[in-house]
């Protein structure tokens, strides 16, 4: 018994004291195509003959829930648990004090293009490799829209519904010509609570949970009506007709039953599940969902009939929120040289080809894009939308940008749920944003 106990204790001590086999530890974005792609790229990197044993990469992931909160706490506490960590355009200002700028080498501009590289820049310095570009597509059921456009009686019904809910007898249009009002009329038409003959239960599925990412999805609507967080002098301008129009349109659709009544608890996976069920006609969603929604294996009921276009237009044009996810170097990294080497390799066309073919969504250009667009035609669309419709709200890369999104999520969802008026929600948002966006001392 004593011998056994000693042997167990010794074994445990040895196991705990053993150095990790990998010497560059990378904290990635968990649970989506980004993780799959990063695993594939890492495997290829570790298999290269030039990669020495002490520079091999090991990946770690923790839950997506509260990811950026945990990362902030780790970085602020001076963690050495990882050498490379995830960053996002909207959080660079928050994390830059705890990170080291990176040199991606001369190939990087040719791989990504300057505008995509800039999504990982803060105060003129490059803080990471832009591995994934995130923006929004309008996913829609092509079969249903085609049927509507070919059916005169249906068009009459559509106009009646538009007149009743939007005060204007709109006529159906092709999705790439949609304004937000056309989209809203389409969503209402395909809602059984509004139109009992609708082939789908809901015309859309809105992600309305009190969650910062949902605010990013929502804001392309008010943006197309001219919304911005502040004016050029830094005054908060969220209490505007543009925001009012967007917020009221979402509430009208929720109240009319054009999105599930549970939508105030919906985020990315819930919305995708609703669309994949075949009971939803349209959905504004992240481009990352295309991998699943357009794949017949993962979306057997809908993939063949699903198509995508850019988000609808407003009086000021067509817009999509855009941000980059990327990987940068922890200031307290134990192996900063190894981390730099890995990131430099990741910024090459060869690495990005592996990454993209494994499901990642990098914003590529030139030869790097040509090498993958046969397998990933959506990446060409991604670059096109980012260049033509991409926007970043004024103040949305500041150190408190995430807190602004959090504040908006709480106040806007409060209005949608009916627990506060639109005036109250916008007044509270303005007060909070003014405090969060005031110049740092």
């Amino acid at each position: 018994m004593t011998r056994l106990t000693k042997a167990f204790a010794l074994g445990t001590a040895l196991a705990l004291a053993s150095p990790a086999l990998a010497e560059v530890t990378v904290l990635g974005w968990p649970g989506g195509p980004e993780e799959t792609a990063l695993r594939a790229a890492t495997e290829a990197y570790n298999a290269r003959p030039e990669t020495t044993e002490d520079n091999k990469v090991e990946l770690i992931f923790f839950s997506r829930e509260g990811f950026f909160d945990k990362l902030a706490a780790d970085l602020a506490a001076g963690t050495t648990a990882f050498d490379v960590n995830l960053i996002a355009t909207y959080s660079i200002g928050r994390y830059a004090p705890f990170m080291t700028p990176v040199d991606l080498g001369s190939d990087a501009a040719g791989t990504f293009g300057e505008s995509v590289l800039s999504t990982m820049q803060y105060e003129g310095q490059q803080y990471g490799v832009p591995t994934d570009l995130s923006l929004h597509f309008m996913y829609y059921r092509k079969d249903l829209i085609d049927q509507l456009l070919a059916d005169t009686a249906a068009q009459q019904k559509y106009s009646e519904i538009a007149q009743q809910y939007l005060g204007e007898a709109l006529t159906p249009k092709a999705p790439d010509e949609w304004t937000w009002r056309d989209w809203a009329a389409t969503a209402l038409y395909f809602t059984q609570a509004v139109n009992p003959d609708s082939p789908t239960r809901y015309g859309s599925v809105l992600q309305m949970k009190n969650l910062l990412f949902n605010m990013m999805v929502f804001q392309s609507l008010p943006r197309s009506y001219g919304a911005d967080w502040t004016d050029e002098q830094g005054n908060v301008t969220v209490d505007s007709e543009a925001y009012r129009t967007g917020l009221e349109m979402y509430k009208m659709l929720l109240d009319a039953g054009a999105t599930p009544a549970d939508s105030l608890s919906y985020e990315y996976p819930e919305a995708n599940a609703a669309f994949q069920s075949g009971q939803v006609a349209t959905m504004l969603q992240w481009n990352a969902a295309a991998t699943d929604l357009l794949n017949a294996e993962t979306s057997p009921a809908t993939a063949a009939a699903t198509a995508t276009v850019a988000p609808p237009a407003g009086p000021e044009g067509r817009f999509t929120h855009v941000h980059g996810l990327g990987l940068g170097v922890n200031k307290n990294a134990e192996n900063p040289e190894g981390a730099q080497q890995f990131l430099q390799w990741l910024a090459t066309p060869a690495a990005m080809e592996i990454y993209a073919k494994a499901g990642g969504a990098p914003g590529l250009t030139g030869a790097a894009l040509d090498a993958v667009k046969g397998d990933r035609p959506d990446l060409a669309q991604l670059g096109d939308y980012a260049a033509n419709y991409g926007y970043v709200m004024r103040g949305a890369t500041s150190a408190n940008a995430l807190s602004v999104y959090e504040l908006q999520a709480k106040e806007f969802t409060g209005y949608w749920a009916g627990s506060e008026t639109l005036d109250e929600a916008l007044a509270n948002t303005t007060t909070g944003m003014t405090d969060l966006l005031k110049p740092q001392q």
């Binding site: 829930e65 509260g66 909160d69 945990k70 902030a72 706490a73 970085l75 602020a76 506490a77 928050r94 004090p97 309305m208 949970k209 009190n210 969650l211 910062l212 599930p260 009544a261 549970d262 105030l264 608890s265 819930e270 599940a273 609703a274 994949q276 069920s277 009971q279 150190a399 408190n400 995430l402 807190s403 959090e406 709480k410 106040e411 969802t413 409060g414 209005y415 949608w416 749920a417 009916g418 627990s419 506060e420």
Partner: protein, 253 residues
């Protein structure tokens, strides 16, 4: 207390009791406190009532088949965060079994997480998970009542409801108090299952006090205010426990 965020974690600036004042002026703090107290009280009462009923009602069966207790207490084995995740699936209109069968059988299904229903949904989830705990306590307390006492009561003509109310329940009263206190404390500090299921809720509708502290700390990056709220929470808890302890000490007299 200090003016401190993640950027100034290692160089905080002292600012007296400003953080406490900020927290006490924050409407969301009082809303979250109200949510926690309502949730804690309601779930504690329901769990204790159900646990007591089941322990007494199922006593003859549990005496013969004690292994059934292991099955009945299984929900306690599930981590609260996993419980929240599970109900995200179970209650989802398009993939969840509950809405599916309700729609199939009755042609309609309530939106369990809609603003009007979400409070009761999280209460029911909490009660389903933790009633087994009170059942276990009451089962042990009920089983520990001496057969001789019951026999003596029967000799005096006691039976049924009268026996329970006048003889058995008074003997289980200490367990009743302990169960109520433990479940109230657990309910007030609820975090995991609600946070995973609905987050802070639309407009903060499911924001318990721990969720308020968490969101202030991490999401708002307002560490000083979050710590001030934590200190206030700890002081309030201490006060409640001290009062409860004093009450318990006085009861024998």
């Amino acid at each position: 207390m200090s003016e401190v965020g993640f950027e100034t974690l290692r160089a905080p600036q002292l600012e007296g009791f400003g953080n406490f004042a900020d927290v006490l002026r924050d409407e969301a703090f009082w809303d979250s406190l109200g949510f926690s107290l309502r949730f804690g009280t309601l779930t504690a009462v329901l769990e204790v009532a159900l646990g007591l009923f089941l322990a007494v009602f199922l006593a003859p069966i549990l005496q013969r088949h004690a292994w059934l207790l292991a099955i009945l207490t299984l929900p306690m084995m599930v981590a609260p965060a996993m419980m929240g995740l599970m109900y995200r699936l179970v209650l989802h209109e398009f993939v969840g079994p509950v809405p599916h069968y309700l729609l199939a059988w009755f042609g309609t299904s309530p939106a369990f997480l809609a603003p009007g229903n979400v409070f009761w949904t999280v209460v029911v989830i909490e009660v389903l998970q933790w009633t087994p705990f009170t059942l276990l306590l009451f089962h042990l307390a009920y089983g520990s009542i001496s057969g001789e006492i019951r026999e003596a009561a029967r000799m005096d003509g006691a039976k049924g409801w009268w026996m329970f109310r006048r003889v058995e329940f008074p003997m289980m009263l200490p367990t009743f108090g302990v169960a109520l206190a433990i479940r109230f404390i657990d309910g007030v500090r609820v975090f995991d299952n609600i946070y995973v299921l609905t987050g802070a809720g639309a407009g903060g509708s499911t924001m318990s006090l721990p969720i308020y502290i968490y969101t202030s700390f991490f999401r708002g990056g307002n560490i000083g205010a979050a710590l001030a709220a934590s200190v206030l929470f700890a002081l309030a808890s201490f006060l409640i426990l001290a009062l409860a302890w004093r009450f318990a000490q006085r009861r024998p007299a």
